[in-house]
Symmetry: C2
Subunit: 434 residues, 2 copies
């Protein structure tokens, strides 16, 4: 099938998806779980073939590792589906209700977005997770996976799609694209795809963001800062710096830069150095930092580097204001932390820092959908509209205004004898049952 | 000043704008009102010059009419500012609060988006309105108006910017761009501009949407449908069709197509024809329509035409499902209405129609921020993310996650002795005062 036909099919399916009752969606999720568990051997066969081909093609070891989709991964995916089943249906929730006039009721009701385009690199677990998230939220999904995982993705997509259709989902609710050139063409399908979610490296996400008019939900860099204020408790600051940098270095919410107020630098930096040494973290310091502790000198480039490694940039700043300016200039609007005992300064930091997650006296590593208790994580967004920070199912939702009248006309509300609007809040939910 | 410098200045100002207390913002709005009222003569002088130049350049009469910004327009603009002052501050509202663990509190707090880019055609009132909306919502604003209104826009921008600065707003909170080539350059400023709001003709809005990676809030077409169901009360359907089409034809929420269920067509169409004749509306009907009433035959092109005029397309459809398919294919996702006495069919219509405003038994003309009681209207959006339908100040807002701990580290929540998260809802608002 040509890509426009695929996309049209997915778009057509999206209107039925949007109208599905919660029971059908949950049954479909149960069926998908069953089918994945029952077809472990078939999936393994395809996955082994993908891995063998990758080895033959001499792909990098970490990439081959990410390719693996064995019974443990299936079990993990099914756990994820289980927790989705337990969540309330995000579709059809009344967000606001207003009585415009007698018998004229306005409801703002949550609705699925429509067609979600997902482009992901090798990890096949991403396919299962995103398909389940789209299903639960009543969206149709157009998927494009990495060519290395082609066999695994194909069997997973077929199993999931068909289990869904057998449970009452419309044919075409999930469409897998398989040719590499289809990514570029998908990015141009603004008439059919309503939102793109990219899953992969920073460079990959950036490439997608820069090449489509379709809204993209996600983040490229995660250059997170810990600012140790003049009013910080040294021991707390030390622990937060260590956790934020060292607890797991390869993730977007790990700290990449420490900003240290000059009043506490002489005392704090040697302790920080000791901790970083203990964890094998290399420090790239500004001139002032280098004058206090022994470390490599940072260049301009270090302030805009996301290491994802046992490396950290350190800068001494003259004021809270300077710390904020540095973050707003070099940060990526992901997660930024202030350590201080002074609430007023903490609030000033949060009010002025242009970031999705503004934290006070805790680790940057908490920036995560699971830790936030969102139930399911669609991704982490550094966008300035729609959804920001860790995004749960609400990132896959929009709303519809539903106005219910009894023959009401605008003409009656204009001119010299115009009726007035009431505009009173209604404590009611939109009820779909007759 | 070069455009990147302008945009950088605006971006810098946006962080201070985001942190302003409500009192300062309301005082600034009061000052702006005063300044506009006191400088009526100066504004009139510049506006007269613009109009004289437009006449000399032989611009179209409707365009010249829209250019006019006299004392009536000033008074109208000031009324708008007054109603904005009365609205609660949209910044800093706690949208959600969760206790993650003892002493670890998560707040989702409303925040301004940042820099709003506004591109508008000749109407200078748009400048005043959008500047006031951005101010109230704590956003900085980069404006580009039509060259015909250059003098009026310049004096208005200067007066408004300076009145704001005198009230405590940061320098550069409002920047007016004046060269035509700057529109194209503004559309490429994704590092500085967070959201674009275009105000003008459909073609103008479409051009902007198709040429920028920056999110755009707005709508191009407004091809609104009225579907008269087999279960519709004929008299109510007639009144709704008439109000939706004829109450004011030149607006986006006016109806452009009537879909009539075949069971009622023979009875309903002659009555509809009589009403349309009375209002001087030309009907373009499908073959079946033409067989029942005398009218011009519609071609494929009519289903996708927004007339904004005394013209309407009429189609006989075989079922509710066909009506929905027609709307999903040819509609613009703006406003679509079902007239029916059957609730189940109305819900089916709303659940399956991909539209921002799904109405039941009332006129499409109600799709409007004022009528919805939103307090202020930023625009009407047909987007599938962020904001949809009539958009109030919340369209200029995003949120920030604020996590407040007491030295909390992620390491304590992992491994064999991991602490568990509580994830209990907090009935608290984030308080900024120390």
């Amino acid at each position: 099938m040509d890509i426009t036909t695929c996309a049209q099919k997915c778009k057509d399916a999206s209107t039925s998806m949007a109208a599905l009752p919660a029971t059908i969606k949950n049954q479909a999720l149960e069926h998908i779980k069953d089918v994945l568990l029952k077809n472990g051997n078939r999936i393994a066969k395809h996955n082994t073939a993908d891995i063998q081909k990758a080895k033959k093609d001499q792909l990098d070891a970490p990439l081959i590792k990410r390719l693996k989709f064995d019974s443990d991964k299936i079990a993990e995916s099914c756990d994820g589906i289980d927790s989705l089943i337990k969540l309330p249906d995000p579709v059809g929730v009344t967000l606001k209700a207003t009585l415009l006039d007698k018998g004229l009721e306005l409801y703002k009701v949550s609705r699925p977005i429509g067609v979600i385009g997902v482009i992901f690199e090798s990890r096949p677990d991403a396919l299962v997770q995103i398909a389940a998230l789209c299903l639960k939220s009543g969206n149709a999904v157009l998927l494009k996976g990495g060519s290395e995982a082609a066999g695994t993705n194909r069997i997973l997509a077929d199993l999931i799609h068909d289990a869904g259709v057998r449970s009452g989902l419309p044919d075409g609710w999930l469409v897998l694209l398989e040719r590499r050139d289809q990514v570029t063409r998908m990015l141009a399908l603004n008439d059919f795809v309503d939102l793109i979610i990219p899953r992969g490296s920073n460079a990959f996400v950036k490439l997608i963001m820069d090449n489509t008019l379709i809204p993209v939900l996600g983040h490229a860099d995660g250059i997170c800062h810990i600012y140790v204020d003049s009013k910080a408790e040294a021991d707390m600051a030390l622990q937060i710096c260590t956790d934020s940098k060292c607890q797991y270095v390869a993730v977007c919410n790990a700290a990449e830069t420490f900003l240290i107020h000059e009043k506490v630098a002489a005392n704090f930096l040697p302790q920080l150095k000791k901790q970083m040494d203990k964890h094998g973290v290399t420090i790239y310091g500004c001139k002032k930092t280098c004058a206090i502790i022994s470390c490599d000198q940072a260049t301009q480039a270090h302030w805009q580097t996301e290491y994802l490694d046992y490396k950290v940039s350190v800068k001494v700043v003259g004021s809270l204001k300077n710390a904020i300016s540095h973050i707003n200039r070099y940060g990526s609007g992901h997660t930024d932390v202030i350590v201080t005992a002074d609430k007023q300064r903490a609030v000033q930091f949060m009010d002025h820092t242009d970031t999705a997650n503004a934290f006070w006296n805790c680790s940057s590593r908490f920036a995560d959908g699971f830790r936030f208790g969102l139930g399911a994580e669609v991704g982490i967004s550094t966008n300035k509209i729609h959804a920001r920070g860790p995004v749960g199912l609400e990132g896959l939702m929009i709303y519809q205004w539903r106005l219910i009248g009894n023959g009401h006309k605008v003409a009656d509300y204009s001119g010299p004898c115009a009726r007035a609007y009431l505009h009173t809040e209604l404590n009611l939910s939109f009820k779909g049952d007759a």
